[in-house]
Amino acid sequence: MASTARSGRLFRNLNAKIAAIPMVLTALVVFVGGTIWTVVYSFTNSKLLPRLNFVGLDQYERLWESSRWLTSIGNLVLYGVFALIFTIAIGFLLAVLMDQKIRFEDTFRTIMLYPFALSFIVTGLVWQWILNPEFGIQGIVRDLGWESFTFDPLYNPDIVMFGLLIAGLWQGTGFVMCLMLAGLRGIDEDIWKAARVDGIPTWKTYLVVIVPMMRPVFITTLVIVASGIIKLYDLVVAQTSGGPGMASQVPAMYVYDYLFTAQNLGQGLAASTMMLLSVLIVLIPWAYLEFGGKKHG
């Protein structure tokens, strides 16, 4: 393009517009269009193929009567609450430890963060092996002579979600630690000096001064972790395949099965619409906080 500065806005903007075509298409066709499509077809009785045969809220009624869906939601809430509390608490504590001007900080960080580079499939399979009742932790403790020791989260429907949680925390806490550490580093050194002059003990400074100052970091982390939890899928597929029985089913699995294997599109789309709704519940309050209510999600 040999357009000089004079040859008009049209040509310059034309190039920019051409460059932005993929973004415009992605935003409008996939994100907005795809979402609308899913919501609209969730009100139909589509089976194998999408058909615009509206049946009102039938799919949703059936969804909330399905015991599998209720289990999935219960599991996600259980996993989500514990994962949120633990990732943020552990991530923050580790960041505080790392912020004590320690030596070998890079080494420690490298070790804590490497699980985050791995696929959930890899994480799930490793922990499946470590939690294997015969050869894993349970087997070893029993071999040590404690015959009645029981730790088989992947085979016990009551605690299977905690087996997943162990793996999920292993993978995710290092990442949260890095975010928190960046937040801690962003705090003005003078705050620390002032606290020291006033004779406030370190732990109290963290709790009373630093944590409130890091509110934006906590909120951002919360949103990122929460939207990751709602998508929870790969880890469950690899580690438990949703079992034992249906004990570790999650909503994303329900959606996948109804869309691609059970050939009951309407049902799968209704379930995915519910997932969208749950993300909006997290996202909209955050958007208000972040953008002061100027924009909405």
Partner: protein
Amino acid sequence: MADVSMAAMSGPRGAKPKKALSGRNIMLYGTLIVVCLYYILPLWVMVMTSLKGMPEVRMGNIFAPPVEITFQPWVKAWSEACTGLNCDGLSRGFWNSVIITVPSVIVSIIIASVNGYALINWKFKGSDIFFTILIFGSFIPYQVMLYPIVILLRELGIYGTLWGLVMVHTIFGMPILTLLFRNYFSSIPEELFKAARVDGAGFWGIYFRIMLPMSLPIFVVAMILQVTGIWNDFLFGVVYTKPELYPMTVQLNNIVNSVQGVKEYNVNMAATMLTGLVPLIVYFVSGKLFVRGIAAGAVKG
């Protein structure tokens, strides 16, 4: 410590060094080391199990190093492990992942970098609105868009093909990459851009001669982000490709979680390790750039 006597002057000067073995330090480093052991443990178990023969796996302790080191499980995982009727090992998944990852990374980075550049230097009416939609769109669960994209790809005639999957990775990588490039380009002084404009450079001229050479670090960060992200993907691989083109993660899961046959835990762990190797190498080689990539993602989504 200001009034130092003559006798002390001959000794070491400056502030008194802190004791290395203070109670605080023992607590601090002790805790960190224990925490690190927890993080290392699975990697250790994975490697150790993969180097044992099956009899030793059954007899022994998963944490113990192998008595007799064997690479047989690695060989088997790479070239003989079965998924269904196929028994050509994980190597097929590996090469599939390579031919998926390479074009996806290239295409997504080209599109996102040009896009980020247009958003900063060549704003047009509505460009910021589309960008906002893009960022908020990245929070929508993939499950919501899975099926509409199936229809889209089918209409384009690329459902189940390599290019279909490349397109999906480009779409879902776009929010974070565009954000990354947009933020980086906004830190390049505008005077540079204006000077180039005065000299008669156009959209592509400025991009290739000024923006690109000045932003190589951010391209590396984007590559790290995309290589690990796409390599680790499972969901899109399952949904948008056919079994012949399944990426490594999908094949790994099929090998390990298949019900038939005797479970060969050592082969499973070797296969798991093989799949994790590429992102691990990228991670350990890239060091701080990896942290920069994920931190950029956290700035706003």
